[in-house]
């Protein structure tokens, strides 16, 4: 019997469960390697050969090279691991989180100062479908499974 995953019905959200973790193992372990200062330098100097040292899929490597955070998440990346890439690039957590929303950095910051993204209209995937939000299919939980 398949596991019950009620969280697939939360819009714009990918829950890092056992299946995602399995898919993203090498992507996330590559991210862990960036906790060492020497590795950060080596990665930044020449990214592609550094990525080729890891048993990641080509899709995962391309997502890292293009810094497509939503794509990395859908391919099994976890935000706390992916944050090491952001740190290597000198980005704050707010810049990283904001980059996944399709908003500009300033708009996102202003939204947060204004109290954040409201919960109303953001609980269920059908609310986004009718509202036309969440335009990038790739971002929805389960779209890639």
């Amino acid at each position: 019997m398949p596991l019950d995953k009620p969280y697939l019905d939360v819009p714009g959200t990918t829950i890092f469960d056992a299946d995602q973790s399995r898919k993203g193992y090498w992507l996330n372990q590559f991210c862990m390697s960036l906790m060492g200062a020497d590795n950060r330098l080596r990665f930044k100097a020449d990214e592609r050969p550094y990525l080729d040292e890891w048993a990641m899929t080509e899709e995962q490597k391309l997502a890292v090279l293009s810094r497509d955070m939503n794509r990395m998440i859908s391919l099994g990346g976890n935000i706390y691991f992916l944050a090491k890439i952001g740190a290597t690039d000198g980005l704050s957590f707010q810049q990283m989180a904001g980059s996944m929303t399709g908003m500009s950095e300033d708009d996102y910051r202003q939204m947060m100062i204004g109290g954040g993204r409201p919960i109303d209209g953001n609980r269920y995937t059908h609310e986004w479908e009718t509202a036309g939000a969440g335009d990038d299919d790739d971002n929805d939980a389960g779209a890639d499974r």
Partner: protein
Amino acid sequence: MAHVSASVYTSHVPAIGVAIDLGKTDEPYWRPVFDGYQPSRKWIAEQIPDVIVLVYNDHATSFSLDMIPTFAIGTAARFEVADEGWGPRPVPPVIGHPALAAHIAQSVIQQDFDLTIVNKLDVDHGLTVPLSLMFGQPDKWPCPVIPLAVNVVQYPAPSGRRCLELGKAIGRAIASFDEPLDVQIWGTGGMSHQLQGPRAGLINSKFDQDFLDQLIAEPERLAATPHIEYLREAGSEGIELVMWLVARGAMADVAGGSAPTVRHRFYHVPASNTAVGHLILE
């Protein structure tokens, strides 16, 4: 005998640590956050505990995907401050309390909680930001700290019920320790926030305030909240709030004692992507 004198609850937003470390606490953006902790600093200065049991989560720092313990207790004499990718925070190393930690581990495992015992553990912002919020920037932390790490990174985190019951077991373990130690237990993380995907930036103040109300008055009922409600209502990273239930479970009233007094309650939006919640129960 040792006893739990108080519990402290707080968010552990990394940007708060950065603001403290870079001296930005007086900036208009940050001032309301730190003002909210002034009464807490005064309160704790008058009652520095002998030991803090600090419930937090590791953020892909010491636990990669190679090993994911659901509950882990740090039994070492000393815990180094981790480099999370931006370089280690300029804060003192954390001194442990191996005797009490070993006692808790043995007692709690015999109460059917299979803790992972960790003798080497670098601690990240999840543990050091709460210390900075409560103690500021001392040369060394004023008391030993026992880290209790909970997995909230890979789904599923332990249930709220399991966390509350673990807290009760820890409370019993502390009460059976022979030395007359004054122990505080801290629950950290949360409140509502989501750091990933197009829904990033979610904040739900109503959920957060209800959570605080129930944590104070109805912890048993709060423990029944299912994961999906945290994920949907408080954001994918709001699930960290289950860790507050560990600390709450160690308070005397949950085991039939008298109700705790609320010493301080504070709530503010935002700190970076997150709603900051804070509570002291004595």
